[in-house]
């Protein structure tokens, strides 16, 4: 399973790689990282249908996670991939907008990786 992680914080890459080191070692999951919404779109356009799941932060400079979500769900990829939003804002408004735009799930920071792994199992 290929997962695209979008976040402007570079340390996110190290964190995911360590948290999922067993899954990566066994080849169960393959991670790709993008550090902005724009970068994510470029990747998705070049590698259509490769990513099964997209994990995106909402609050990023430039294109926000919600704008990225809108692009993915409405303008590009058919069928659209699964998109989970990760944000520091646990408020209802963000949650509702994300749902409206077609987000499949919604996680808040700090990320609970045990719960995330459970969710991934149901997708694969």
């Amino acid at each position: 399973m290929k997962i695209l992680v979008v976040d402007d914080e570079k340390d996110v890459q190290t964190l995911f790689e360590q948290r999922f080191r067993k899954e990566i070692k066994t080849g169960e999951i393959d991670f790709v990282f993008a550090f902005s919404g724009e970068e994510a779109l470029v990747y998705l356009n070049r590698h259509e249908h490769e990513a099964v799941l997209i994990l995106s932060d909402i609050n990023m400079p430039g294109m926000s996670g919600l704008q990225l979500l809108e692009h993915i769900k409405q303008k590009y990829h058919k069928p659209p991939p699964v998109v989970m939003m990760i944000t520091a804002y646990g408020d209802a408004e963000n949650f509702n907008i994300a749902k409206e735009l077609g987000a499949d799930d919604f996680l808040t920071k700090p990320v609970d990786f045990t719960a995330l792994k459970e969710k991934l199992k149901t997708i694969s």
Binding site: D11, T14, P61, G62, L66, A88, P110, F113
Partner: protein, 839 residues
């Protein structure tokens, strides 16, 4: 006639009579048609010069001078009048000389120089008496009477002069313009003296006469006086009617002084009728007219009215501005106190007369020993009184040069002993709202009383009588004379009052009480007392009156100053509160951003520490298996993760500290700070803060930091506040532009730092719509904001400016507004704020 016979040699008879005729015509029309008079007299001047006809030339210049006066060109008029006066005196033409003195006196009056004005009127009077020119004499009497009665407030003396002037003007010529002029002056004095009936009678008579003889200026003046009469009686609608008539009359004949005065009074009426906006317009227009002709006396009145208006609107800044200007111009006009001038000039005039009388006596050889002795005695008294005047004017300067109440009181006391017996001396401040007189300073034989109060209800007190009747108390034998004022007398000061050495006050035999007055308001009283009988003569009373007028002015100024000081303190307190609320408002904008910013490091701290737990468990297993290579690899990961935990922990710590620093009052301590880190931190906080509030907000952030800057010495929370403010503003303007729906617009904000020669530059740039030129010079002013009401305090940039200035730096802006760019056919470049700090 003699001169003409001599002149015959150099000029033809016809030319001379032509010049005389031109001069005569010019003089006749100089009031009603000053422009025509100027043309006629210019022609006369040219002819007289060509033919070396000195007398004709002098009269032509005199006429040009008076014409300019009625065209409101006061300075030109003054120069010409002096020129004419010198020529007249050179050729011995006394009538012309006398007339010139009077013209100059009038001009000085209009220019606000009362001392010179009175001096020249009196010179004109002497000169015209000598030569027997009744017309000039009447004009001089009128001028001097006006200055005495109206300007200096000596009603009795003013009316005396004016009645003489009226009699003379009736004698010489009925069609003369003087009669209405004298009546107008008399009306004004009657008005000030409270004799309303007589005032109305005189002013309506004046209006009638001036209408009959179609003298526009006089008509305007009398309309003004009538307006003023109604104004004084608070009959505002009638007053407005007459002032308006006078205004249009003044405008018709281009009579600027009259125009300014009418505008001022119309403004005052509007102000009383609560139409402050219109009143302001009138005051400003009056000020403008007065400034055009440099009429200082009008200028200060206009500033006074404006100050009062702004005070009522609680616009403290404008109030202070106009109050200062009012004070400045008033001080210029009344540079040397009026009363001392009046006395000084009286004495000079009287002394000269006395000397002349003595001279005549000597020449006619009439030995009148007694009279001579009397004269000598008089001269001696006058000299003594002249000396008193010198001392007085020195005291006047001392008193009026301070604004501190106690200093004023002490200065008055220290000096009063030089002039009279002041064994007991006291100054009371009248407090109408408390119905009492407060004695701040009372002294007996050099020993002070404790401050005490006297109730106005205590009718057995001479002080209370003095205030209630607004009249002097003048007693030289208390037992015999107190009944002139009171039926019953109680000497005792309140029982609690004893002198500072514990002794009791003694009863005086002679005493003077004088009310202290400013305009029509009683502000207190001054008193001197002596144990001796007959301690005070009339001239002591006069001296004390002069002293009282200084004291009044000084106390009034001190009180005004105190209330000004109070207003300023209040203003400062309000400002402090506003600054605090501005800090809190920007903190509120930040909290959401901070919440977000704290979650990010926490995410790493939590997760990396959990990863480490797992890794350490794995490491234990590997150790047991003996796979040392794996153990080392895991240990390296653990160390790297620990470093990340530490890094993000510190990041969270810095965010919280930053927030606390922002809300705290500035410690005021400069410390070496990393300006790049500061700028980066506040950029992120501001961005996330705005994003948290408005999900749709979006902008490209660009940073370009110069890493060679190193640490610079600043108060970090203050400079942080400036950067935050500039960034927040930048976000606001790009967001506004985005929301206006411009196609293909990408909001962008950049922060750049750069090390320059001995300086550091921080630039915050946006690509918004720029700042229009017309508001550019206002953006650093407190309370200026372009945001909708309730959204901005208008203090952000003003505070930023102050902070940067306090660091010895500069805060500038470079901008090209959208509208101006469009006009120039260019793209708007947005705005760039530049902080320049010394290293």
């Amino acid at each position: 006639m003699d001169e003409i016979v001599i002149e015959k040699e150099t000029a033809a008879v016809e030319t001379i009579s032509r010049i005389d005729e031109l001069n005569k015509q010019a003089w006749e029309v100089h009031i009603t048609q000053p422009k025509l008079a100027l043309e006629l007299s210019s022609e006369a001047k040219q002819l007289a010069e060509d033919n070396s006809y000195q007398k004709g030339l002098a009269y032509a210049i005199r006429n040009m001078g008076v014409s300019h006066r009625y065209l409101s060109n006061l300075e030109t008029a003054l120069t010409l009048s002096f020129q004419a006066k010198d020529m007249f005196s050179e050729i011995g033409e006394k009538s012309g000389e006398a007339q010139s003195y009077v013209s100059i006196g009038a001009l000085y009056y209009y220019m606000g120089d009362i001392e010179r004005s009175l001096d020249f009127f009196l010179k004109g009077l002497r000169c015209s008496e000598e030569v027997g020119n009744k017309e000039a004499q009447a004009y001089a009497l009128n001028g001097a009477g006006y200055v005495y009665g109206v300007v200096l407030g000596d009603h009795k003396k003013g009316l005396e002069f004016l009645e003489k002037a009226l009699t003379l003007s009736k004698e010489i010529n009925a069609s003369n313009d003087l009669q209405p002029r004298v009546l107008d002056c008399m009306a004004e004095i009657y008005l000030n003296d409270g004799q309303m009936e007589k005032a109305y009678e005189a002013s309506f008579q004046c209006l009638r006469l001036s209408e009959q003889s179609s003298q526009k200026i006089m008509k305007g003046d009398s309309l003004f006086t009538i307006g003023n009469l109604f104004f004084k009686q608070n009959r505002l609608d009638e007053s407005k009617e007459y002032f308006s008539q006078s205004l249009s009359n003044s405008r018709e004949i281009n009579y600027k002084v009259g125009e300014a005065d009418c505008l001022l009074h119309l403004g005052k009426i509007l102000f009383l009728q609560k139409d402050a906006e219109m009143a302001k317009e009138y005051f400003l227009e009056s000020l403008k007219v007065a400034e055009d002709i440099k009429a200082k006396a009008m200028i200060y009145k206009a500033h006074e009215a404006l100050a009062e208006l702004y005070e009522s609107k609680e616009d403290i800044q404008s109030f202070v501005k106009h109050y200062k200007l009012y004070h400045k111009f008033k001080t210029e006009v009344f540079k040397d106190e009026q009363e001392s001038k009046q006395k000084y000039l009286n004495i000079q005039y009287e002394m000269e007369r006395l000397q002349k009388e003595a001279e005549i006596n000597r020449l006619t050889n009439v030995v009148m020993k007694e009279k001579n002795e009397e004269l000598e005695k008089k001269t001696g008294e006058l000299e003594q009184s002249y000396n008193s005047v010198s001392v007085l004017s020195k005291i006047g300067q001392d008193i009026t040069s301070t604004l501190d109440l106690d200093t004023i009181l002490n200065t008055v006391y220290e000096n009063v002993n030089q002039l009279m017996d002041a064994t007991v001396f006291g100054i009371g401040i009248y407090k109408p709202e408390e119905a009492s007189i407060e004695y701040r300073l009372s002294i007996e034989e050099g020993k002070r009383y404790q401050p005490y109060e006297r109730k106005m209800s205590d009718k057995s007190q001479l002080a209370v009588w003095c205030i209630e009747n607004n009249k002097e108390v003048f007693i030289n034998d208390i037992q015999k004379e107190f009944s002139k004022y009171l039926t019953d007398i109680d000497y005792t000061v309140p029982a609690l009052v004893i002198l500072e050495d514990g002794s009791m006050p003694k009863n005086p035999n002679s005493l003077i009480y004088l009310p202290l007055q400013v305009k029509d308001k009683i502000i207190g009283l001054i008193s001197v007392q002596s144990y001796e009988k007959n301690a005070y003569a009339e001239h002591h009373l006069d001296i004390l009156k002069t002293l009282a007028s200084y004291t009044s002015a000084a106390l009034y100024n001190a009180q005004s100053y105190q209330s000004l000081q109070l207003a300023l303190n209040e203003l400062k307190m309000t400002q402090d509160q506003l600054i605090q609320s501005e800090k809190m408002a920007s903190l509120g904008e930040l909290t959401a951003g901070i919440a977000h910013e704290i979650q990010n490091p926490l995410n790493f701290v939590n997760n990396f520490s959990e990863v480490n737990k797992e890794l350490l468990t794995e490491m234990k297993e590997e150790i047991n298996k003996g796979n040392m290579n794996d153990v080392i690899a895991i240990a390296n990961d653990v160390i790297a993760n620990e470093e990340k935990i530490h890094h993000h922990g510190k990041r969270a710590d810095a965010i919280v500290k930053g927030m606390l620093q922002h809300s705290r009052s500035s410690s005021g301590q400069k410390e070496p700070s990393d300006i790049n880190a500061l700028a980066d931190e506040y950029l992120r906080l501001a961005y996330h803060g705005l994003r948290a509030k408005d999900k749709s907000f979006n902008a490209t952030l660009k940073t370009d930091f110069d890493n060679s800057i190193g640490n610079i010495n600043i108060i970090p929370q203050d400079i942080g506040r400036v950067i935050l403010n500039l960034i927040t503003n930048a976000f606001y303007v790009v967001d506004e532009k985005k929301k206006s729906g411009i196609q293909n617009y990408e909001p962008s904000v950049s922060v750049t730092t750069k090390k320059l020669n001995g300086k550091v530059e921080i630039r915050v740039k946006d690509n918004g719509n720029g700042i229009p030129q017309k508001v550019l010079d206002k953006i650093f002013q407190p309370f200026f904001t372009t945001k909708p009401t309730g959204q901005g305090t208008g203090l952000g940039l003003s505070l930023s400016y102050d902070i940067v200035k306090a660091h010895g730096g500069e805060l500038k802006v470079e901008t090209l507004s959208y509208e101006e760019a469009e006009q120039a056919g260019k793209e708007s470049t947005g705005s760039e704020f530049i902080i320049i700090l010394p290293v």
